[in-house]
């Protein structure tokens, strides 16, 4: 590039500077701070030095649209808002994003946010982030309730204001006593969805659409209670339910391995990781292993989540404990049994949270408390 044009814009990294450099007619910009010497070649965008500094309150115009009165949903679909967000707020070049659970939650999970955790409670679920969210005392979260321990722990900690609920239960171990107490006694509001519906809602957002038609949910109270509209398809006359796009403010996915930029591989079933990663405004990836970028590049077809979707990479070995991560460790049945015994009562749940969440500063301390030998013994 020989000529640099300077545009009056806010820097997408630090949201602080007044000037940035247009690299290619409006698609990519570089932060102009200290970069305006004549003849300096700007082939790649470098991260702004202020990237890690406490950000000024971000520009209002790109915040999630507040729930509009006519929307019956916990998170209102906003495809244009997501486009603008992706243009203005995403890092579009591969840059290291490694940080701790503490920093990732502090920066990307706010009170009142709509948050989603993939997959569910005892399978490849980012529980190290769930515990950190509780530790930092987040409140009034709206939650994607396709879960188990993740949903239960957050409800028990008083962090949840409302749920989009598909399934919260322990399968062969029965109902969730935490959910029962919250709904039956405390009136926690829950909207009903099917698993497929939640995945398709995320897929709609991932496709950049306001809704996705489906032939599921029709005729049921599950549909009526969620407030979904139906219509006849104009081409075939087939009835469809119009599932509203769901774009979480922050999503968290646990993967087997990724590189420092966030390029992620998942072994085994994908759950709804591809959809939620593309639908979310902010994405935290927690990983069992950090690999060299060359490893990712040697098999690019295995990348399920490319770097530009990712805002934070958190190195979290055994991050899904006491659940399992396919190929690396099994579910810790002993811990799960103790947990299930504890959550049978409200007091027991509090004691569990005190012992395993509030009583520990971070995931490293959690692993030490579980015991490294015991963790190693969970290898499949």
């Amino acid at each position: 590039m020989t000529e640099e044009t300077v545009a009056k814009h806010t820097c997408p990294d630090c949201r602080w500077l007044e000037e940035r450099v247009d690299l290619d007619e409006g698609l990519n910009f570089a932060c102009a701070k200290g970069r305006l010497g004549s003849g300096s070649a700007l082939l790649t965008r470098t991260p702004c030095r202020d990237f890690a500094a406490p950000a000024r309150p971000p520009a209002r115009r790109h915040r999630a649209a507040p729930a509009r009165p006519w929307s019956p949903f916990l998170q209102t679909p906003d495809p244009d808002g997501l486009r603008a967000w992706n243009r203005d707020r995403k890092e579009l070049l591969p840059r290291p994003k490694i940080m701790t659970e503490h920093d990732a939650v502090r920066r990307f999970v706010k009170d009142g946010d709509y948050v989603g955790f993939e997959l569910y409670g005892t399978v490849r679920c980012p529980l190290s982030i769930v515990r950190e969210v509780i530790r930092q005392g987040r409140r009034r979260l709206r939650l994607l309730g396709q879960g188990l321990m993740d949903v239960d722990l957050l409800i028990a900690a008083g962090a949840v204001a409302a749920l989009d609920l598909a399934y919260v239960g322990y399968e062969s171990h029965g109902l969730s006593p935490v959910l029962r107490r919250a709904v039956e006694k405390d009136g926690l509001p829950a909207k009903e969805w099917s698993n497929g519906a939640l995945a398709w809602r995320l897929k709609a957002a991932a496709m950049g659409l306001p809704f996705l038609p489906t032939r599921s949910m029709l005729g049921s109270d599950t549909l009526r209670s969620s407030g979904v509209s139906t219509m006849r398809d104009p081409y075939t006359g087939v009835a469809v339910a119009l599932l509203p796009a769901l774009s979480p403010d922050c999503a968290v996915v646990h993967v087997q391995r990724c590189d420092v930029f966030g390029n992620s591989q998942i072994d085994g079933v994908l759950g709804f990781a591809p959809e939620i990663a593309r639908a979310a405004k902010r994405l935290i990836v927690t990983t069992e292993e950090i690999v060299r970028p060359e490893f990712i590049q040697s098999a690019p077809e295995r990348t399920v989540i490319p770097f530009y979707l990712v805002d934070a990479v958190v190195y979290a070995p055994f991050g899904a404990h006491p659940g399992e991560t396919c190929g690396i460790y099994r579910r810790d049945e002993e811990h799960v049994a103790a947990y299930l015994a504890a959550i049978a009562t409200a007091d027991g749940t509090r004691a569990y949270l005190d012992e395993w969440v509030h009583g520990l500063p971070d995931h490293w301390a959690y692993r030490r408390k579980v015991g490294f030998e015991r963790l190693a013994g969970l290898a499949p």
């Binding site: 490849r124 009903e192 099917s194 029709l218 049921s220 109270d221 591809p274 396919c326």
Partner: protein
């Protein structure tokens, strides 16, 4: 439910999988039935699990629909949306579901007991059951037979059966040609004839009587004249089943 009743139910469900191709397997009893069927009457059965497992060997019984065993030695491991879209395209023939409440039209409730805004009991929710009941060609409902579970009207239609009678599924816009195929319990086997779409008793489990079934059912139902009795589980089936269940307990 006693172990014996559970074995009756699971063994009969496994036989319903004979000659089937792709079956959608829900959590709990359907998993046991699928494991038994794979080892006995339907070794080629392609079991589909909602979080993405397609055609696992089921040598070890999954304890959850997303755990590693649900795609151990499977043909494919994809994702939730992909599996449900496969069902929406009509490629999944049967779905095996459980439930907390069922009514004569095969509508299932797994959401709440009591009103939704102030429930007496909060149940897990729809999970994948609503998608299965909406999209697969034939739904087989597996339940323990108790009067409080067999009600005239479910508190919440989590998963649509025939709703309120013939034509109701079509009016609601559900895919034509889909719906509950059998209702199997530890006491009896029901079908849903096209004229009424109400559960009709077609067979009894060993040891059950028509009067006994009526006493345990909270709605009126018809029965075919002289319903046959389902064959009891063979010693071989019981051995396989107990080995599979015992393996789960030991794991």
């Amino acid at each position: 439910m006693s172990a014996q009743a559970e074995e009756l139910l699971v063994a009969a469900a496994a036989r319903l999988m004979t000659g089937r191709s792709t079956v959608f397997i829900g959590t709990g009893l359907p998993m046991l039935a699928a494991a038994l069927a794979k080892r006995t009457c339907a070794p080629e059965l392609v079991c589909v699990f909602e979080f993405g497992g397609i055609g696992p060997a089921l040598e070890r019984l999954p304890r959850a629909v997303g755990e590693s065993r649900s795609f151990e030695r499977a043909w494919a491991a994809e994702g939730l949306a992909g599996v449900m879209e496969t069902a929406q395209r009509g490629l999944i023939m049967d779905g095996f579901l459980g439930g907390a409440q069922v009514d004569p039209y095969g509508n299932l409730n797994t959401t709440v007991i009591g009103p939704h805004d102030a429930p007496r009991a909060r149940l897990p929710g729809a999970g994948g059951a609503n998608d299965v009941g909406s999209l697969v060609w034939r739904t087989v409902i597996m339940m323990r037979h108790e009067r409080r579970r067999f009600v005239e009207k479910v508190d919440f239609v989590t998963t649509p059966g025939y709703l309120d009678g013939p034509g109701a599924r079509e009016r609601a816009g559900l895919c034509p040609g889909t719906g509950p195929y059998r209702l199997l319990t530890d006491l009896a086997l029901f079908d849903f004839p096209a004229e009424t779409r109400r559960a009709r008793l077609i067979a009894l489990q060993p040891g059950a009587t028509l009067e006994g079934v009526r006493a345990e059912t909270g709605f009126a139902f018809e029965a075919v004249p002289e319903p046959e009795t389902l064959p009891p589980p063979t010693p071989e089936e019981l051995a396989v089943l107990r080995a599979a269940a015992g393996m789960e307990a030991a794991a």
